[in-house]
Every structure is written in C-alpha cells, then in structure tokens.
Symmetry: C2
Subunit: 270 residues, 2 copies
DNA sequence: TTGCTCAACTTGTTGGTACAAGCTGATGCA
DNA sequence: TGCATCAGCTTGTACCAACAAGTTGAGCAA
C-alpha cells in the first residue's frame, strides 16, 4: 500500500524525521520568518496535504504539534490562524508598592498606563480555605475564609483570574463582613480600612498546563501554559491574605527588582 | 458503517462531549483520585479501546490530550506512565544572596541541602550576544561576549539549562580570558575575582512551551511548559551579566521574599 | 548458567474513508 | 432591497487497516 522504506533510503540523513514532523517544522520555520505573520491564516488542511504529499491525517498531526506549542490555533469552519502574542509585563516588586500604596486598583492603573483598556468582574463569597491556601494563611484547611474572585480582561481579551483568600479572623475585625463591596475595591485599600498594614510578601511562581476550567475562563486552547503567581501578604504578626493569580502564559511576563539597579537601568528592556 | 447519531440521542445531556474527551476525562479523574498513582502504568491502548468501546485511534486522541496536559508520558514499547512531579523550590530572592556570597556553586549547595544529588556539565565559549541579551547588557547585538552554558541535573534527571553572557569589556578586565575554568566555578566567584561587585538584579520570568531543542535537552515531552528566568546582574555602574535559566516547568517553582515576613513565616509552606 | 534469538506484546506513523458541524458568500425569492 | 437558503468551503470526530519500531520475557542453544 505505502512503503516507508524506499523513501527513507534517499532522504540522505537530512531527515529521519517522520513526515508529520517535517510538516510541523516547515510551517514553524515559515511562521518564524514571517511568511505567515501573526493573525494570518494558514493554508487549509487539504492544500497542505497536497503541498507536502501527505494524507490529511498526517497534516493534521503536524498542525496539532504547532497547536500544542501554542504557535497556531484552529477553529472549525475557519481554518488555522497564527497566534499573536504581545506580552504584558508586570513588575511584581513594584506592584502594590509597600511604600507608596496605590490609590485604587493596581491592575487597572497598570493596564491603563500601558495604553490599553482594562475590564474586570468581581465575585465575593464566604467559603472554606482549600489546603493550599490554608497552609499559607496558617489556618486549618476547611476553616471559613472570604474569597474575592476576579476575572480580568485587557482590550476584552481574557487575561488572568485572581482568587484572594482572607482568613476569618481578619474579616471579623471589620464591622461589615456581609458587604462584598468593601473588598471589591482592592486588597491594599481594604486592608488599610481595617487598620492593617502589609509589611511583606511571599511570592511563589510556577507554571503548568491549564485545567479545562482555566482554559475556558482564559479562552486558551491546548498548548498555552498558565503562569501561577501566589502572593501571601504579611502583617507584622501573621499572614493576612493569599492571592493566587492565574495568567495566560503567552501574554504575560513578570519582573522583580532586587537590590540596587544602576542608574542607567531606568529604561529597562521592554 | 458507524453511526454517531443514534448514540448521541440517548446520551441524555450527560455528555455532548466527544468520545475521545470522555476517555481523557475518565482517565484524568482516575489519575487524580489515585487509581493510577504517579509512576504507574496505564492499561494499553487496546485494553482501553475495549473498555471504552472506542477505536484505537480514538483512545489515542484521548491519551494524547493527557500527554498534552503533562499528566502522562508514553514510550514506544513500554506504554503510558503517569508522570510524577516533585517540585524543587528555588528561592530567587535569597539565591546568590548579595550580602552573603555563597562559597561555591549556589545550585549545588541548594540541591545538596535538599538531600538530592546535583550534577552539571559546563561549556564556556566566545560568541556574539543575541539581541535579547544585548538589550539587557546594554551592548550592541552581535558584539562579542563570553557565554557560559550549563546543563544541570538532579538525581540524573535533566533539570535546567543555564546560559550566562558576560559583556566583552568585563572579561577583558581579567588577565586570563582564554581560560574557561575561571568562569566554570560560578558567576559570583568569578566576578569577585575581577573585583566587581553585584549590587542588584533585574529578574524576568516567563513561560512557554519548549522549543524542540529544549525538549531534547530537558527530556520533556509535549505538554510540559518551561519556566524562563532571566537574571540581569548590575554593578554600581552597569549590567555585568545576563543569565537565562530554562527550567522544566513541572519540576520547579520559584520564590521571592519582598519586604518583611512575620516571625512565624520561617517555616514556609513546602 | 549464560547468552542469544525470537515471539508477542507495546506505541509510533501513515494511509484511507465517512460524516458532523461551523463559516461564508452566492443565489434566488419576496 | 432585504432576507432566507443553500452550496461549498473549512475543521472536528470516528472508524478501519497496515506496517515500523521499541521492549520484554520465554525458551532454546552453547
């Protein structure tokens, strides 16, 4: 029916690579060198099938590799599109600066400063602390806590989700724990209203592939990892909040400044 | 030959999900709840094919989803194995502490302290600075630079690669730029020998899917993202080195401490 | 016992087919 | 003109078949 042997013979070391990888490599090269620019559509499967002299299944395997790598995305009826990725940089050591508390929401400020349009939805609820959060807040897993969940967009593109847990002892300090509006304005402001000062953060950064739920919220297909940022905030006595932010990995980068940066470092590399 | 219609009819809203997703979801659930523990082998494709009453191709599509999510890996002749992921935590704000320069290689120290066995290979060469690095070192792209490339293992598992670029002006300060051995011992020590002190860092963190080359070096299959850590070190005058570390995303996590952490925070959540 | 071969498993690759389902523009009716 | 329909494109899902190639263990030969 088909014979692989004869073909491999004359391939002369240039590629023992299987055909579907050759397809992926060729297309990846063309995406890299700009033959297919971000936003552009790739030729259809049947066209590629003809070009590479491969079956539709084989071409699909190759395209699937590129989807997995996050280079392209597909939609039924439309075709394959080259993904664009303008990254948004978050300076985590300056963010919510300890000395200069932001007047308002730090996220909105940052996005607006970058000339882009922020948009976010809130949800505040009473819940129990999951184990991961409880460890960090130094409470028992299952203890009640207040969760402030936040879904953020930049120019109407889903950007990140943020879940902040406050321990029970903290929210009962305030007179109005049943009013979600208090927390909605932002963590720093809320804590200030309770007379609590954050004096330090413990940040943890990890990456992994999104869960199906995350993929849905952030509208990312297979092949785009998420960047997980867990920030535990401390008062002079104990942890006062734990914020887990889930970023689209292809659209975000984080920065930290440590120690002194020389004078000329003001204009950081973009 | 086969008819999808009849089956969908009686599925009763419980799942409009395509069959290959049902396979993936079922297996994912069983991996999560421990039916298949890390390191365990999944049933073979043909067994799963019988269990789910699906063709081998359909089962493969489902398994491929889990590979993409990084939950399992496959090897020809062996089968599918549930991946284990013990994460290794790197405290980036304490790492190469500015006040207390490490006596020796910081990586080896950290890994040994965690009760695991470090192993690394070096390569030092004279090269030109790629654009990304040149921007950070404030030199022209294409300028000569010294590259120290480092391939690191923990318990013989590939862990990370590290590429440190030093600008030309710096290496010519030392009398012996042709001796690769000097840099091999580590950045901090090398800089000290040149009488240069690092007073600050600029760290950038990003994530993405690995390039084929990275996947080869780190021995990660599709579905495992990499964590990119770029550290630019500064003297009191200017950037003196740029280190790009590529971690396996499934095995590493980074920490930063900012400001003051309360007394009880010494025992950080693992 | 040792060591080799080989059968019988495993996944990997590639081809084929058929139909479902989403999108778009042309066509034609009101 | 306006709108509904539909043909013809696209990708998505599902099946089948065949052979390549890696791994393992049984079993035979030295």
């Amino acid at each position: 029916m088909y014979q692989q042997v004869a073909r491999v013979r004359h391939d002369e070391g240039m590629s023992k690579q299987p055909k579907y990888r050759q397809v992926a490599d060729a297309l990846r090269r063309e995406i890299d060198n700009g033959t297919y620019a971000p936003g552009a559509r790739l030729p259809s499967e049947s066209e590629l099938s003809a070009r590479f002299d491969a079956s539709r299944n084989t071409v699909r395997s190759g395209l699937n590799l590129l989807v997995t790598e996050g280079l392209i995305s597909s939609s039924q009826g439309l075709g394959y599109e080259v993904r664009s990725h303008e990254v948004f940089v978050l300076n985590a050591s300056r963010f919510e600066n300890l000395d200069l508390p932001q007047n308002g929401d730090a996220y909105s400020t940052d996005v607006t400063a970058a000339g882009r349009r922020p948009h976010q939805t809130f949800r505040v609820e009473l819940t129990t602390a999951p184990e991961y959060v409880a460890e960090r807040l130094k409470v028992e897993a299952g203890d009640t806590a207040v969760l402030r969940f936040c879904h953020r967009f930049v120019d109407d593109v889903p950007w990140s989700t943020q879940a902040t847990h406050y321990p029970e002892w903290l929210v009962t300090k305030g007179p109005r724990l049943t009013e979600p509006g208090d927390i909605a304005e932002g963590t720093t402001r809320y804590l200030a209203s309770l007379g609590i000062e954050q004096i330090g953060y413990f940040d943890e950064i990890a990456t992994r592939m999104p869960t199906p739920e995350e993929a849905r919220l952030l509208e990312i297909g297979a092949g785009v990892p998420v960047l997980l940022w867990t920030r535990t905030g401390f008062s002079d006595e104990r942890p006062i909040r734990c914020t887990i932010t889930t970023f689209r990995g292809d659209l975000n980068r984080m920065n930290y400044e440590i120690g002194e940066l020389s004078a000329r470092s003001e204009n950081e590399p973009q």
